[in-house]
């Protein structure tokens, strides 16, 4: 593991045999500090099978260090909140039952994972913005999008709409989501935008570039960066738009026949669930509403209930 004065340990826990679990961050800051700099935290790797954020972390590190004279604020990059999970291709924290993104804000008195969660929250506290990058899971591909809880939408939309994303999904609140990192940070006054993009266990390079460009735009808006930036995309913002869910009603192999992030008509065939044993079509899968297909099944094997697609209702150019 590399040593560098700017690489800081956020949390460290001794493992049984000669090793420590370490949550690390890279702190990038101007050579001369005035004490009034704004701070942005880029966090990812909460789920060990979501890797899209790894490339974004690399690219941000590279670009900022190549133009360090343009850096006017503090950028903290946390590539792996769940480093053992990333290393071992495990979505959760190895040897721990609960989803790491369901134990925030954590507790110093609790289990090891809850202690690590508490340290992460303490470390990010006070930042001016946090971007929490996720990558769906191994089953579904997502177009680059922000997920924003309706209760904090007014705070987050100014950031979420400048991140060069295709879509901002303002979703309803749910009790179970009160234990996410984003909820915990937002409730202590750190605006935290959750980004979902790509698919688990893979890196989609152009999505990484797209989000990196967007983060630089937001950094410029905040006065953290004064290098060249692009004009970010204007995302589709769904505040009250209907979202149609498509779930498999038969087990088998799903083969799509539409492209991701394209418009579909109500009733249009999205794909078919096939039976490889007897050569039959178990289920033709159709769009429940007309609109834009923003989630599409990537992993072919499906069970009854497996999510196949999500469609944002409406007419889009």
């Amino acid at each position: 593991m590399k040593k560098d004065d700017n690489i800081k340990t956020v949390a460290a826990v001794g493992l049984a045999v000669d090793e420590k679990l370490r949550v690390l961050k890279h702190v990038l800051q101007p050579r001369q500090l005035t004490g009034t700099e704004k701070r942005i935290c880029i966090v990812t790797g909460t789920h060990g099978d979501e890797l899209e954020g790894q490339y974004v972390c690399y690219e941000l590190n590279r670009i900022i260090q190549e133009q360090i004279e343009c850096l006017k604020g503090i950028v903290e990059i946390y590539p792996a909140l769940n480093p053992l999970g990333v290393d071992s291709i495990s979505r959760g924290i190895p040897m721990f039952d609960l989803d790491m993104n369901r134990i925030f804000p954590g507790s110093e008195e609790g289990s090891v994972a809850e202690h690590v969660a508490a340290r992460i929250v303490q470390d990010i506290a006070g930042a001016d913005l946090c971007i929490d990058i996720h990558a769906s899971n191994i089953f579904l591909r997502e177009v680059p999008q922000a997920r924003v809880n309706v209760n904090v939408a007014h705070n987050l939309l100014p950031f979420a709409t400048r991140l060069n994303l295709d879509f901002v999904w303002v979703h309803a609140a749910a009790t179970v989501l009160e234990s996410t990192l984003a909820h915990s940070m937002n409730s202590i006054g750190v605006p935290t935008v959750v980004v979902e993009m790509g698919v688990g266990m893979r890196i989609t390079e152009h999505y990484g570039h797209q989000l990196t460009d967007g983060i630089l735009c937001v950094m410029k808006d905040l006065g953290i960066w004064d290098g060249e930036v692009i004009e970010p995309k204007k995302p589709i913002v769904s505040e009250d738009g209907e979202v149609g869910f498509v779930n498999a009603n038969a087990p088998g192999i799903f083969l799509p026949c539409v492209e991701h992030w394209k418009n579909v008509e109500k009733g249009q065939l999205i794909g078919r669930i096939l039976n490889p044993l007897d050569g039959t079509v178990e289920e033709p899968v159709c769009a429940p509403i007309g609109g834009r297909l923003f989630t599409l099944r990537e992993y072919p094997v499906v069970s009854c209930g497996s999510l196949i697609a999500r469609v944002l209702g409406g007419e889009f150019a």
Binding site: V13, G14, L15, A16, V17, D18, L21, R91, G92, F96, D97, L98, D99, R102, I103, E109, G110, S111, V112, H115, N137, F139, T175, V176, L177, E178, S179, F245, N247, A250, P251, G252, N275, L277, E282, V301, S303, C304, G305, S306, L307
Partner: protein, 311 residues
């Protein structure tokens, strides 16, 4: 005894998963008992199988009080159990975090919805779950503090302890929580084991359920009176953590009385064999929970102690 399919999940590469219910008696929905929801809950499955066996014999003897129906669902997730997994076989989701479920949702939401539909409307709901921190417990009844819970009813199981847990957001999707919200008096019973069969605590669990059903007027059965439980709040338990990681040697067992300064466990250097730390009890009390794995990370909750309680 009537055996019926509660829910079927069709599969392509393996047999369909059928969830079975066993009904005893006829009439009002008196009590429902749910066993293994995770694939490693073998003890929970065993306890339910023994309950099915006992209730079958009792029903044949006419011991179920008129106008009462008891439903037992021993296994909800044998698709995972059969392949050595704890959570759902394909996507690793936890069915016990999916209640009340959704019939048109994802696979485990559909399973939860199918089960929940069958188990609603009972006066009493009894579940045999396992805890998210692995280790050994004193047998106890656990309830969520939803505002609907009734600790004095939990006492009627005759187990040594009743624990009240303040629910966190993630708990709001468990069976116990949702049963209570949907007007069933819900109890979770924890024994001393999960992934192996512990016969004495399994027998204790079976007896406790039969005792409870008898006391609620559902069953005619003569049993020992059991314990008058101590009611404790989970937040009042003293957590004991280890300062160093390494190999773990336990010196105290669940249920044992300890005094302040007693050695609860030793941590051994995994390479050199020396004892590098001794974990002392910070209080007098009874051991409620003890870590059981042979290795331990730094800062693990290795003991939970009921403060200032004596045998």
């Amino acid at each position: 005894m009537r055996k019926e399919k509660i829910f079927t999940l069709k599969n392509n590469y393996r047999d369909d998963m059928n969830i079975y219910g066993y009904r005893f008696g006829r009439g009002d929905k008196a009590a429902c008992i749910v066993g293994s929801i995770r694939g490693n809950e073998v003890q929970q499955l065993y306890i339910c199988s023994q309950l099915v066996k006992a209730l079958k014999e009792l029903e044949e003897k006419g011991a179920i009080v008129h106008d009462n129906e008891i439903l037992v669902i021993p296994s909800v997730n044998h698709s995972a159990m059969n392949i050595g997994k704890r959570f759902w076989a394909t996507d690793n989701t936890d069915i016990n975090r999916m209640f009340p479920g959704y019939h048109a949702g994802e696979t485990t939401q559909r399973i939860a919805a199918g089960v929940f539909q069958a188990i609603q409307g009972y006066s009493f709901g009894i579940q045999f779950p396992s805890f998210y921190i692995p280790g050994d417990f004193v047998p106890h009844v656990r309830m969520m503090d939803t505002g609907f819970q009734n600790a004095s009813l939990a006492n009627l199981f005759g187990l040594p302890y009743v624990v009240i847990r303040k629910p966190r957001p993630i708990d709001t999707a468990t069976l116990n929580y949702n049963w209570q919200v949907w007007n069933t008096n819900a109890f979770s019973i924890y024994t001393s084991a999960t992934s192996h069969i512990d016969e004495p605590s399994a027998r204790m669990a079976v007896s406790s359920v039969l005792r409870f059903l008898t006391r609620m007027g559902i069953l005619r059965y003569t049993s020992h009176s059991g314990y008058i439980a101590s009611v404790i709040h989970e937040d009042d338990l003293t957590n004991v953590k280890n300062d160093l990681p390494g190999l773990y040697r336990r010196h105290m067992e669940p249920g044992q009385e300890v005094h302040r300064g007693d050695v609860l466990a030793s941590i051994i250097d995994p390479m050199e064999g020396e004892i590098i730390s001794q974990i002392l009890s910070p209080t007098d009390g009874i051991v409620f929970f003890a870590h059981h794995a042979p290795t331990v990370m730094e800062g693990t909750i290795i003991f939970k102690i009921i403060r200032r309680l004596h045998e």
